[in-house]
Symmetry: C2
Subunit: 338 residues, 2 copies
């Protein structure tokens, strides 16, 4: 955990105007204190205690916020607002979180109101993939872009889109579901109820399905030994380990996953003509084995001008896109009154 | 051709501020005179004479503009600007048209500059599908929406997107290529060089390919008689006629085309969460035979909230979306100075 010296003068900017960002994950709550001029002044991370239900999770978030304030020596009066990036579905305008699959016991929790009461300054709640996108736009690999999108590659494929320098939310706040672009008519069933979604192929879960289908069709791999014949035991980690061990099948699985992601990204580039397409989430640790087929496929399937323009990059803030983006979103909403 | 009484007072709005819209098609040039408060005061239509090259086409457009001014009794001094919706590829900011497939002899024509010289007021050039989208947003079935998209269903599938009340153009002006959303990995080759694009299935050309492939696989249809065994002679019109004659295969072909379009539209709805998805172009004359499978498929493959929100509608301005949208875009650009 890094602690920064507080209340010095950053080139004349007023660092006494502070924003807090909270990244509410199923496993960890991460918190950051950020100055209005985009300096990260302090960070905190602790277990979410999701299994104890919404009250405990909100207490955990409040404690993390107090810890990061205390840690940096900030004055509470200098905190303008806090933003929470939370898993959907939710209503970002009312701050009500409906029933996120990875937060047991949550049902229509008025998260923004509850946290505003606990903390004493305005709290804004946003979708976790949207805030990660905004974080990259604000302070990460998307800086300088007017139009960009972000894909979070994990259990599912989440998405965020910035156009005209703003998050594209759509009329009901459900926009940017990049994981549910269709890439294959009549393809795999997806958790969303549809078939042929990018998420069913390009997520860790999709990658594991590709591996299982490959093994079932007779392909040889070290995975069969590692899972002791129980194909349900195969994980994304095993596939990464297999690549390190030189297993050709594992490399093929990762390549296939990259091809599917490249197909979806070609749709995004033809549709949005963005400067940047940014990838984050655990899967990007695979590096070139994943990025090469993504870039190659996206280029092959996209018009030349937007293909030449769009840089496909790893997130610049690493695992902190969400926590920093929560602060950035909160500042934007505090300033615009939305 | 309808002529309106000019210079009366529309509810106090100043109708002396006029904009001209021009829809430059490969076959016809259409022109409209529109008041700043969105009243269509006059229209003109004449053959493009595309085969005579750029100079003749520009003369034709200038004559059409003069005709619509004369017809309505407008004063030239009251015309603020003109907009031309032209086929791409182009640079909308410089107004240079590169080499549109349906305008022979055009190569890097500085259309905005040339027409500004000829007409004596500012002329703005925009992509034809974008202006049709803006026309529907400004004065057609998209009125009242903040986020909408439009598909032009003809030889190809064109597209336009409005978000935050503005055309989404992207950094190079190539955005909104809805026809080049991917719907099928390893699917049909598309004219753009990629495979599996919506255009390869959902355009008139794609529909004819579906018919030919069906016949080649042994399906029985009246089309085989009508084309006298020459499958290359099958047209979209024949398929429509076949449906009217009760030919089951033709109905299946149109249904398939609608399913493909519904797949692409489900991606759009999951990505943009728009209030309206508007369809225009010759193919929409098919009515429910096309719209029913589009709506059914789009709903089945989309998240519930955005699916419930998005209305899938026929263009409200019929064949005039482009000409009216050209005027609307020109007004927006004149006012914003872009």
């Amino acid at each position: 955990m890094c602690v920064y010296v507080f209340r010095h003068n950053h080139g004349g900017a007023d660092v006494s105007e502070l924003i807090i960002g909270v990244d509410l994950g199923g496993t960890n709550v991460k918190t950051a204190l950020v100055s209005r001029d985009k300096k990260v002044l302090g960070k905190d991370s602790r277990p979410t205690r999701a299994e104890e239900g919404p009250e405990a999770v909100m207490t955990c978030m409040a404690e993390s916020v107090e810890a990061v304030i205390a840690q940096t020596g900030a004055r509470r009066d200098d905190v303008l607002a806090a933003g929470i990036g939370a898993p959907g579905p939710m209503n970002w305008q009312t701050g009500v979180v409906y029933s996120p699959p990875n937060l047991p016991g949550w049902k229509n929790v008025p998260l923004a109101d509850e946290m505003t009461k606990r903390l004493g300054f305005p709290v804004y709640v946003d979708n976790d993939a949207n805030v990660a996108c905004y974080g990259e736009y604000w302070l990460g690999a998307g800086q300088g872009a007017e139009n960009m999108c972000l894909l979070t590659l994990g259990t599912g494929v989440g998405g965020g889109i910035v156009v005209f320098g703003q998050l594209l939310r759509g009329i009901d706040g459900t926009a940017a579901e990049i994981g549910h672009l269709k890439v294959m008519r009549g393809g795999r069933a997806c958790g969303c109820g549809a078939t042929g979604c990018l998420e069913a192929y390009g997520s860790v879960t999709g990658m594991v399905r590709t591996a299982v289908e490959g093994i079932e069709s007779g392909r040889k791999t070290i995975l069969t030994d590692w899972c002791k014949g129980d194909l349900k035991a195969i994980t994304g980690k095993m596939i990464s380990d297999g690549i390190e061990q030189g297993d050709e099948f594992c490399r093929w699985v990762m390549n296939e996953t990259g091809v599917w992601l490249g197909i979806g990204i070609s749709s995004l580039i033809n549709l949005l003509n963005p400067e940047k397409v940014i990838l984050c989430g655990g899967m990007i640790a695979a590096g070139d084995v994943l990025f090469d087929p993504i870039r190659k496929t996206a280029r092959e399937l996209t018009f030349e001008v937007p293909a030449n323009r769009a840089q496909i990059l790893a997130a610049g803030l690493g695992a902190d896109s969400g926590v920093i983006g929560s602060a950035g979103c909160a500042l934007a909403r505090f300033e615009s009154g939305i």
